[in-house]
């Protein structure tokens, strides 16, 4: 390449401590590959839905977090690929829930931190999907699980919000809990139930599998 660094068609950046020259239309993942950055293994879908390619990003004095497959190479930035999130601290199985009236009490036992949000906005600022994380947590803490789950609809479980939370609320897992408990207790579609009942009375027979013309 003959262009000067900083011109339109080439940018210089630092990825995991390695100086990389890239083109500005490249994502950070592509730039890391092109620049020969070793051991970049936290990469999955390359379209922003698996939440694996978590990065810490420094532009001058400003530090932020993002997903590398949805962030483009810029001149002068510094990027660090983050390790995968720590193991979940909260333990529950949906089949342990016997009664829908107990959900809120059980939720407070499983996620006691959720009620302690201090509205620091760390989670909101760290979310690469623009989710209203704080509002979602408040809804869950108030027992409004359907609405809380809806707030987290586009969550890809990158858990960057978890790293940002000083109260260790694990917001992504609270959101997922809210969605799961809503389906577990409230999703009872009549068309599905009717077909299941028909199949219970007369199971689908594999012997009757001749194609009709």
């Amino acid at each position: 390449m003959t262009e000067d660094a900083g011109s339109e068609s080439v940018v210089d950046l630092l990825i995991n401590g390695v100086q990389v020259r890239a083109e500005p239309h490249m994502t950070i993942v592509e730039a890391a590959w092109a620049g020969g950055v070793p051991r970049v293994t936290g990469v999955g879908c390359l379209e922003g839905v698996c939440g694996s390619c978590r990065i810490l990003l420094r532009r001058g004095p400003a530090v932020s977090v993002a997903l590398a497959c949805e962030t483009f190479a810029e001149h002068g930035i510094e990027v660090l690929f983050l390790p995968a999130p720590a193991a979940a601290r909260h333990q529950y199985e949906l089949t342990d829930f016997k009664d829908g009236w107990d959900i809120q009490a059980r939720f407070q036992e499983i996620f006691p931190e959720a009620a302690r949000c201090r509205h620091c906005h760390g989670c909101v600022q760290s979310c690469p999907k623009g989710i209203a994380v704080e509002e979602g947590i408040a809804l869950a803490a108030a027992g409004r699980f359907r609405e809380a789950g809806e707030a987290f609809f586009e969550c890809v479980m990158c858990e960057l919000c978890d790293s940002a939370c000083p109260e260790q609320i694990a917001p992504a897992h609270v959101g997922l809990f809210s969605r799961r408990i809503t389906a577990f207790f409230h999703l009872r579609p009549p068309n599905l139930i009717h077909r299941l009942e028909e199949l219970r009375q007369e199971p689908f027979s594999a012997s009757d599998k001749k194609e009709t013309p």
Binding site: H25, M26, E30, W33, A34, G36, V37, P38, R39, V40, T41, G42, V43, G44, C45, L46, E47, G48, V49, C50, S52, C69, E70, A84, A87, A88, Q91, E93, L94, T95, K129, G149, F153, E154, V156, M157, H173, L176, R179, R180, I181, A183, F184, L187, R188, P189, P190, N191, L192, H194, R195, L196, L199, P203, F204, A206, D208, K209, E211, T212
Partner: protein, 533 residues
Amino acid sequence: MKRGLSLQDALAAYRPDAELAPPPKQIDPDALLNAYHPDHLRDGMATLAVGPNAGAQCPRELADLLQAEAYIDEVDLAGAEVTDTDVLVIGGGGAGCAAALAAAEHGAHVLLATKLRLGDSNTVMAEGGLQAAIEPDDSVQQHLQDTLRAGHHAGDPALVAALVGDGPEVIRWLIRQGMQFDQTASGDLHTRRAGGISAPRIVHCRDYTGLEMMRVLREAVIQHRGIEVWSQAPAVELLSNESGRKCVGAVLGSLDGQKLRIVRARSVILATGGIGRLHLHGFPTSNHLGATGDGLVLAYRIGARLCELDSFQYHPTGLVNPPYLSGKLVTEGIRAAGALLLNAEGRRFIDELQPRDVVSAAIIRECREGRGIHPDTGGVGVWLDTARLERSQPGLIEQQFPKLLARSRIAGIDPRRNPVLVYPTLHYQNGGAVIDANGATTVAGLYAAGEVAGGIHGRNRIMGNALLEIISFGRRAGFAAALAGHDRGPKKITLEHVNQARRALTLAGMPLTRHAPQMLPAYTAPGKEIWKA
């Protein structure tokens, strides 16, 4: 390929309100497929010289891996740490998680090993939905017929019967794991039509069905007390008994070091997904980074028979630009909702809800005959007319296709204002390891579930049967593996099958220079060129 219009010219000529004639009524699907479908590209094919499918044809990229050497020898196993488990699941996508959960439900101790992070898979990227015959004007029988017919009757009817019969129960099981689906105002599950199916049958969660499924299954696996998860632990090789004929475990590596670990298991379930990242015939892919066909390679080396190795799905609507999204999917759901395909002349050229292989072949024909649209950034494609859909059903894209919009926003395009440029993208491996209705391969102790398994989709899969299959057959394999009998006596673990495979390669005069499974695409290695279409 004849040159069509530039992207700028095509956009300038595009009118979302133009009158459109219906597409040609008379088509000969077989002639279209023969002439244009990539499965019929003779140049890129090779004949397998060794192994259970010797004599069969498959794409050269795959043949090279199936006939490669193992990485390790018995001497490499000395001193490796040994772990015992009832069931070893290799692969952390939807099929692997379903298998692990089913095996654990039956009391087995399960170790799930995944190459990347748990959930990094094609499942998480799936958009459109899964099939279950639940509507009053639909039946399990119709689902069976649609699946066999679209697969050109190459599927195994017994496997297909098992799949479609499981459909409604699979949805109930997913809801019990905590998965949400879109509903109608009356609370029914919302269903969509799709290419090649005779009734509305696709249940979905907007266009994030796979994400919703995967995050729920991942959480269920992580939270389950009977399942241990090892991530960044790719399978380097399977282990066999002294005869080399029975699978008794696997050797796992690590992405961050050279340490090998031995896992001894009563049953091993391969759930390693597909081969998109081999970029067959130079095609871009919709697949995630780990889709390098590892399971096929491991299964073949230990002697498992494979099927339909020459049949792959090229999804009609992969993105063409911007380049970093090349090959990424636009869900078929949007065609089911009414979006049309237009060539550079602004004409419809195929019924958009024909089976995927036929639609893809038609798109390739248009582009090859000079009716394609060429962006400056490379590649060629046709219009997926999202802007017309938005005009006829304002707000639909925002409500039902948020993933398409979210991705477009980052890429700086708006599918509500302009059509989207699309071209077929390597999407799915139609065949795979031969299995029975319990997911058992032809090798004792070895099961396969999900995309790595074959025999269900014949030579073309219809929308929504992949997400159904990973749960249906993932659970079947998990149950069967958990219930498989104990072996009596000392369990000898060897690499005898590797020795046998090496002898076969040597006798056939094949080189022993290449090693597989590949694990990651070459272009992720330091210093390598990034792969470009």
